[in-house]
Point group: C2
Chain length 182, copies 2
């Protein structure tokens, strides 16, 4: 951030009075430009025991597989965002069954919220940001070609819970690769 | 938003190529300025059956009661944010016991995430944004002086669950007053 989005003057990094964190503050109109984490919402969508995955047509992780998910938009509920992403990425319609996992990614200031969903029909196809949309049995999940740790962990919990007949709610934190290995 | 925070030129509201929503886009450097919902994180903190509430010293809802809660900051996990807000607003230390409620407020593009917590000790006092911090028995909760519907709904679920001996996870959407009455 270099300029104030309100008045166009330059901004300075400082701790505003009464605050305890540095913010971008306008040198002219004194607007404080707060920056906050973003939510990624998505869906583990099932049809007759098979799970919907999308092969990414965009960076990051081009060519790897994910559940349909993307940034929550202003004016949406978290479930509405998950429905929209599933429609956009896989042309798939789902009924949301409940929130299934929350993952914190503090190093990139993101929070993932992934729902469980039931596909309304098995007609899925690639949206604009997807190379291929496909339904996978558990035994066919491309574990080594999953795009994100959030997706891998969520799918592991999903199949584990499904075997018990009871879906829980899972919360966790994903550390960057270096810290996980360290 | 009037100016590009990257280069200082003016911004235009338009649907970027490949997108389907209007965004603020820089007329000069073409930066797309996405705007996304924010998370409010907080905690229903209990000590020996009593619940911690804070009387707000700031707008909105100055003088009304809330559980400690505030905007999640970049670099934080949701639980870390709840701990920080509880410390800042009530000088109170808690152990987080689990996520208890999620409320969507799509009309103001916010998502509340409220945890359950156990106070480490009963020493609570007003922080800078709080007029008074106090522990309330269920029978003494100032229901008509609560600051937010998210807090009222969460406390109702909390006491209801506590009577059953099992705390669930509650998800809901708060509509603006006019729509709720309509």
């Amino acid at each position: 951030m270099n300029f104030c989005s309100n008045c166009g003057a330059s901004v300075t990094r400082l701790v505003p009075p009464g605050d305890n964190l540095p913010r971008w503050v306008c040198s002219q109109c004194n607007t404080i430009h707060y920056e906050n984490p973003k939510m990624i919402v998505g869906c583990v969508a099932e049809w007759d025991s098979r799970i919907l995955l999308c092969k990414r047509a965009i960076e990051p992780r081009y060519g790897l597989w994910t559940v349909p998910a993307g940034f929550l938009e202003n004016g949406e509920t978290t479930a509405d965002g998950a429905l929209r992403e599933t429609l956009e990425e896989a042309n798939a319609r789902v009924e949301i069954a409940g929130l299934f996992s929350l993952y914190n990614l503090p190093h990139i200031s993101q929070v993932y919220l992934l729902f469980r969903g039931r596909l309304v029909d098995p007609d899925v196809s690639a949206g604009a940001e997807t190379l291929e949309a496909r339904l996978f049995e558990e035994t066919d999940i491309p574990w080594s070609e999953l795009a994100f740790a959030t997706v891998r962990n969520t799918l592991q919990h999903y199949f584990s819970d499904r075997r018990t007949g009871h879906f829980g709610f899972h919360i966790g934190t994903i550390e960057p690769m270096a810290r996980r290995q360290g």
